[in-house]
Symmetry: C2
Subunit: 198 residues, 2 copies
């Protein structure tokens, strides 16, 4: 054994984090050991605290420390405008634009036959129940434009449109600041397909 | 505020880790939130446990959970053969070669006038006291071959040789500017084998 057991344990736990290999785990462990004890405990407490206080919002299934979440109980957010996203981090990304004034629905994943993730593994049933009750004016599908995200959007569109809802998909095209030259064919094809009057 | 406070706190604490920017901190935080609660707590406990049980060995100043450390109290390790290294991670790297059968002395840094680190900031006095008491047969200087590591080796050689000790420096099989930590075992083993009088 190269390390004393408590260091070994710490390295092993850190190595479970995404993108953290054995070398990075060792570096993080030694960094934590060299930190003032109080500061290392701040991190430990933040983990325990987040895990015990954060749960899903019963409306939108975003992470929240109070139910319903801050967005769902905000009366200035349009309850009739619902954006469907894959992950809580997508809510953060969209909120940074300050452009969307509606509410969210977090699926917690995307349909992926490869990984054995079907609609029943996502918050799809919850979405149906919610929109059946609230009858939104528009549902924006803002899943990612990966294979899984596109498949999920297609699945939801086919499910929701026959129910009479207006369903839209966020535009896919050239990113701002992007060169045509450095953009892949799929994206360029989408940007042509989605062209609009100017 | 984009996140509920407990997530905000967790992201901020994670972002204090080396090599972890705001984006990675967010990714780690969401990963921890998606982990089973027990597993996230394993990490938190490992941090607290390591910080409370790990201290410096009073002999060699390596990290240890028992004093003296496993190496210093191992009777099959040659107490008259002392290797001086900068960091605990360097002990781990050298131990992986299985070539060194002596004991270590961890300086916890290297002399760096640029960063205001002098001999008094390192475990140099402790090294002097220790070798004065134990009179080792040989002291191997295994600081890194960075500017600071070389300066530290030179400083220690000038200090220890007039005291009558045999002082050696690991061979420059080590690439210049390289850390022990990032060098493969073969190179480290060669550098031990090719050590020369200094």
């Amino acid at each position: 054994m190269l390390y004393p057991q408590p260091i070994q344990d710490l390295v092993e736990e850190l190595a479970k984090l995404p993108g953290v290999g054995p070398k990075t785990a060792q570096r993080l462990a030694f960094f934590l050991l060299n930190m003032p004890k109080g500061e290392a405990e701040l991190l430990a407490n933040a983990i325990v605290n987040a895990r015990s206080h954060i749960r899903y919002c019963s409306e939108c299934f975003n992470f929240t420390d109070s139910d319903p979440c801050a967005i769902c109980r905000n009366p200035s957010r349009d309850a009739a405008w619902v954006m469907v996203v894959e992950h809580p981090k997508d809510v953060v990304a969209m909120e940074k634009t300050r452009e969307f004034k509606g509410r969210y629905h977090v699926l917690h994943g995307a349909i992926s036959p490869m990984e054995g993730v079907g609609p029943d593994d996502l918050k799809v049933r919850e979405l149906i129940n919610r929109i059946n009750a609230a009858a939104p004016r528009e549902i924006v599908l803002a899943t990612s434009s990966s294979l899984e995200g596109e498949a999920t959007a297609l699945y939801l569109a086919r499910l929701l449109k026959p129910m009479g809802f207006k369903v839209t998909r966020i535009a896919r095209g050239l990113p701002m600041g992007g060169d045509l030259d450095y953009t892949d064919e799929m994206t360029l094809a989408k940007s042509l397909e989605g062209r609009q009057d100017i």
